[in-house]
Assembly symmetry: C2
Homo-oligomer: 324 residues x 2
């Protein structure tokens, strides 16, 4: 690799940010300039340089693309527009229902500053979205069904943690028994019929369990459409039994090219670490952003707009020879 | 849909061309101008207009994109460069080892005439290639393994049929027992260790079975690297027992984001009709070619160069809202 490395900044050093540090190390064409945090940098133990997020702007000439590693339920609404005023960005905004509004906000901010913002990257939204698009484009007559889990949803866990009185929380998305087989046979089931959501919550001292349960199970977009159980546990139990972050899921389409001629496409993930995998996708996406921004593109885009080859470290010629 | 329909021409009316007619009917934004054949058009029974391929050039203003439905072992080396002199094209060139040379030929011809040529579209090369790229880009440390079958390979059947003395042939690619499970456990197996190839061949009168068997099993790229069996059958038996065209396959990657943290991606197809499914991909690809060519792009490209959203009939805004 004789080209200069692409220099990345990580904003936010939670699970996703930590995964991004690891992912960058697996890609020899990428380099990490620094981690930027709202916390006191001196309190953070990382093998890479850590700075206060307030210092970010002075790294304008030292960072090619910023990875926004905040959660969409809280951070990205501000972090996204702030960062794209000075940098090209990749984020994992994952509140599906609010994506169109977030897109408009980021598109306006990115166009105004002449930057490129690739939003909603990860595996859902992200890889699963791409698969849904390919499946529908090549099999226009048919049904696509997505399963999530069993696994911890960062976005849903984060949403619970925003409720006043909640000290900590982990949410598992669990596909319901027999639903995958029923879909293979051609049934179409609602998301609620395919999954349930199990929440393990640590209360702050004096918080009211009943009202917090109601806040969770009625939360729109996140829980109100699902069978949701809430179990209150101690901080110790949460740490001991719910600290792993496995996940997985499946996108299936069963279509017909002529009546009775069935064609099935099945894409599935089995992940030991959801944040490390999600971060790996953000890092590959940063490579694409750098290339497209270098070509002059500005505004907000999604993975639907990215020529797949831009995600790979290989040249177009090598891709045709090796992977086509 | 208020936009004008995209007008397609089909060159070659074998299994793939017939599948393309069916696929176009499933897409309301696409229209079929005509089928072009080297045979006498009056001998072809199709519900759409059929013309001699020699008439193609006079349809320059009536066709937006030509679907090249010949086989790569025989037709596309000529059909591709000929067609792209006058039209934007999509083809399914599938001899993996010869793709770089075919790309160069098509790129030069397309640039010279100011057209766009999307080559090697289908499911392998095609959808499987895209999955291999995504898998490797997001999990750079790991191994990707492709399985094909059980199913009829059009390209391999076609290659056998080119041998003098062969009247008809069908080739099945068959994944070997237990190989999928071994790959799931982390083994890497060669293509030869994962599959065998079974050929059913009808001889022409007076043809020599032994020499034809040798021609098949030693054929480079197609058979020489595989355990291949050749069974000679009557024309009647081939028609009765080997006329279906099911297929399928699987692309798996098992990677690690940190040592011991495994992340697995699994993409699989189960197809009642290989040519109808392949044709459905070509038809979606033609939509992308029309959009990219309208934007001024020329030369040869592959699916690695196509922003995925261009494959879909939905608008970018609708895609973000509905599929992201």
């Amino acid at each position: 690799m004789t080209e200069k490395k692409i220099r990345l900044g990580i904003i936010g050093y939670g699970n996703l940010g930590k995964g991004a540090v690891l992912a960058i190390r697996q890609n020899p064409d990428l380099a990490l300039t620094g981690i930027f945090t709202r916390r006191d940098p001196s309190t953070i133990d990382a093998s890479s340089p850590v700075y206060a997020v307030s210092e970010l702007e002075r790294f304008r000439d030292a960072i090619d693309v910023c990875l926004l590693c905040g959660g969409s339920a809280r951070d990205l609404d501000r972090q996204g527009p702030d960062a794209v005023r000075h940098f090209h960005t990749v984020d994992s905004f994952d509140t599906h229902a609010r994506i169109p509004a977030y897109y408009e906000t980021m598109d306006a901010a990115a166009r105004a500053s002449g930057h490129l913002a690739l939003i909603s990257v990860g595996w859902d939204p992200g890889l699963f979205s791409l698969i849904r698009l390919f499946e529908e484009a090549v099999l226009p007559v048919g049904d696509t069904v997505t399963f999530w889990g069993k696994g911890v949803s960062q976005g849903h866990s984060d949403a619970i943690r925003q409720i006043p009185g909640v000290a900590a929380a982990v949410q598992y998305t669990i596909p319901l028994d027999d639903a995958i087989d029923r879909v293979r046979q051609g049934d179409t089931l609602s998301s609620r019929e395919r999954h349930r959501r199990d929440c393990f919550v640590v209360l702050e001292d004096g918080a009211d369990a009943e009202s917090i349960t109601q806040r969770i199970v009625t939360m729109p977009h996140y829980f109100s459409d699902y069978d949701t159980t809430v179990t209150f546990v101690s901080r110790e139990e949460l740490a001991a039994r719910h600290s792993g972050m496995p996940h997985g899921g499946r996108v299936m389409r069963r279509g017909q090219t002529t009546p009775g001629t069935h064609q099935s496409i099945d894409f599935s993930l089995k992940l030991d670490s959801n944040p490390e995998f999600t971060a790996s996708i953000l890092v590959a996406a940063a490579r694409a952003v750098h290339r497209m921004a270098t070509g002059g593109q500005t505004g907000a885009i999604t993975l639907f707009d990215v020529p797949p080859g831009y995600l790979s470290a290989r040249s177009a010629e090598d891709l045709r020879k090796s992977l086509l």
